[in-house]
């Protein structure tokens, strides 16, 4: 990184910090200064608003251990994607299934496919023609989080919705 951009970043952080300082009750609730920065920035900065009729912002569906079942939160996410796809009939979607690292690689490749198919089936139920959906599996080969703990495993059990 060039020194000038480093300076610029520092300046931005300083601005964020001063924004926090004006909200003592928030700073008090967060454990570290860093978190306070993030919260302040979210309060004061631009909100990540969703354009009405635009592409949904949630692009991942997560799963319970050894499961390909879609829970109610995930169903809502998929309903939003189905609405978008119905409004944009020329757009196709790739569904990419992934697993956590536990268990054997080839069996996980099969589980990842089952997760992708589960999402694909739900989108079909929601009215999307199956010819617009392709599913594939990477098993445990492409983790989002390379840690070896519960938090990483939870993050890695997923289907990526790729437009």
């Amino acid at each position: 990184m060039k020194p000038i951009s480093k300076l610029l970043l520092l300046f931005v952080f300083a601005l964020m910090l001063s924004a926090c300082a004006s909200k003592p009750e928030e700073a008090a609730t967060s454990a570290t200064g860093e978190e306070a920065v993030v919260q302040g920035a979210a309060e004061e900065g631009a909100l990540a608003g969703e354009e009405l009729g635009g592409r949904p912002s949630v692009m991942r569906i997560h799963f319970a251990f050894d499961s390909s079942a879609i829970d109610s939160d995930n169903r809502e996410t998929l309903e939003a994607h189905a609405a978008y796809l119905n409004a944009n009939p020329s757009i196709n979607v790739k569904l990419e299934g992934h697993c956590d690292e536990r268990g054997t690689r080839e069996y996980n490749l099969a589980l990842g496919e089952r997760r992708a198919q589960s999402v694909s089936r739900m989108l079909t139920v929601l009215g999307i023609d199956s010819s617009r959906l392709t599913d594939t599996s990477y098993g445990e080969e492409k983790p989002l989080d390379e840690g070896h703990n519960e938090a990483a495993w939870k993050m890695n059990r997923r289907v990526e919705i790729i437009y």
Binding site: D66, E101, R102, G103, T104, R105, E106, Y107, L109, A110, L111, E113, R114, T136, S137, Y138, G139, E141, K142, G147, H148
Partner: protein, 452 residues
């Protein structure tokens, strides 16, 4: 330190003239291999458990270097490490040795009986001309006071390691009656981060002690499931280079490769039949993962399993009659066996609710697989005679176990300090070794046939 490795530079695709499975079954490639020098990713071997208690005491007297300067390769050191790793022997340390003979006439057997060595290996390495060395060794039965083996090799420096492994194999065979596997090699997959932070996957082959690694394929997309052909001349593997799983065969000498399965869905889990004529694979082209058998010469496909569950991870019995595989037809993954000619699938695993990735021992009497115990994934062995299971490891995330060609050791992958490492365990579970890379993760070891 630098070393050479091969990088897959260009793939030129050429379709076979086929009616049915054009492009999806058997597409040949000419892979151009180039030698590129890169920083080393040497494998480091770490002993975890010493096998001293149960191993047979043996003395390997340091081979005398009869040249000037330093010896190019520590031959007797490699022999010592090989024999210790097998779990069958407990080599004496230098401090425990009463003498360091290297000539036949200098051996005093009663001294070696006093330190309880049952066998003695002596030898020397002599330079004969530039880059040409003579290695001589003799193996003795200390109690009967007689020579069991003695050989001389004349080789270039880069073959000295192979000579050492061959000596280990000879000693092992003379003393145990079983063939040694030290001259065989291991294939494995590794993953590291490139300078740009992106993942780089490599398929490599190394000596049985993890030394001398050579990369035969590298890719920005995952590589999986290397499987040796029975003659040791080809590797089958799964590559995601086309953004989904496909099965390839690669000739190791020429680097030429053929894509054998590229159907819709999963193309994976290759396993060669013992005669090398057929290959079992997992394909989900009909909707869910099923096991198929490809006839390599005829380029034909036969479906072996028929149900709505996951069927995958096939492995052949040594006689080529049966396949064992993983299926979740009863809920969770368990091990099943089915005749290649067709018939009923028989369930083989009954202990625990997660048993997967089976493969046979060379004598066909046992099956090793991954079994889950108290949330840990470990290497287990099922005896086919009574279906009883023995768990050989106690680490947390073990994967991909397979028997050595002589059935006396198993290789598997595990995780240590947050990284993927390879490990070997003696068949009785006593002696364990780790193979770790200087950087990156290492996984999916596959043991070659004898002396490929």
């Amino acid at each position: 330190m630098r070393r050479n490795f091969c990088v897959n530079l260009i793939s030129i695709q050429k379709s076979f003239d086929m009616t049915n499975f054009r492009k999806i079954l058997f597409t040949s490639f000419v892979t151009v291999l180039a030698l590129v020098s890169t920083p080393a990713h040497a494998i480091i071997t770490i002993t975890i458990t010493e096998g001293g208690e149960g191993g047979t005491p043996i003395a390997i007297s340091p081979f005398k270097w009869q040249g000037s300067g330093s010896v190019p390769t520590d031959v007797s050191g490699i022999v010592t490490a090989d024999l210790r790793r097998s779990g069958r022997f407990a080599p004496l340390t230098r401090e425990q040795m009463p003498a360091e003979p290297f000539k036949d006439k200098d051996v005093v057997f009663k001294d070696w009986r006093l330190v309880k060595a049952t066998a003695l290996v002596i030898g020397h390495v002599t330079p004969v001309k530039p880059d040409q060395y003579r290695v001589e060794f003799r193996l003795y039965d200390v109690f009967r006071e007689r020579q069991l083996a003695g050989y001389r090799y004349t080789v270039k420096a880069d073959r000295l390691r192979s000579v050492a492994h061959q000596i280990s194999d000879l000693v092992y065979e003379k003393l145990t009656g079983e063939k040694g596997v030290f001259g065989s090699r291991i294939a494995y997959v590794s993953q590291e981060r490139g300078k740009d932070g992106k993942r780089l996957y490599r398929l490599s082959i190394a000596d049985s002690d993890g030394v001398n690694p050579q990369t035969i394929l590298s890719s920005a997309e995952p590589l999986m499931s290397p499987a040796w052909s029975p003659d040791g001349k080809q590797l089958a593997y799964v590559s995601f280079e086309q953004k989904r799983s496909m099965v390839y065969l690669q000739d190791l000498k020429q680097g030429k490769r053929v894509r054998v399965a590229a159907f819709r869905g999963i193309n994976s889990a290759p396993a060669w039949s013992p005669d090398g004529a057929r290959m079992a694979v997992t394909l989900s082209k009909d909707g869910n993962p099923e096991i198929y058998i490809i006839d390599i010469a005829k380029k034909s496909l036969q479906r072996l399993t028929f149900n709505r569950a996951i069927d995958t991870e096939p492995a052949w019995s040594p006689d080529g009659r049966d396949l064992v595989f993983t299926s979740d037809r009863a809920g969770g993954p368990q091990i099943y066996r089915k005749p290649v000619a067709g018939g009923q699938a028989e369930r083989l695993s009954f202990e625990g609710n997660y048993n997967a990735r089976p493969s046979y021992s060379p004598d066909g009497q046992q099956i090793t697989m991954i079994t889950r115990r108290n949330g840990k994934y470990n290497v287990g062995v099922i005896s086919l005679a009574d279906k009883s299971m023995q768990v050989l490891t106690d680490t947390r995330l073990d994967e991909s176990p397979s028997f050595a060609p002589n059935g006396q050791m198993l290789l598997y992958a595990t995780e240590r300090q947050g990284r993927g490492v390879l490990a070997s365990v003696s068949a009785d579970g006593r002696v364990r070794h780790l193979f770790t890379l200087t950087e990156g993760d290492i996984r999916e070891p596959a043991w070659s046939p004898y002396n490929p």
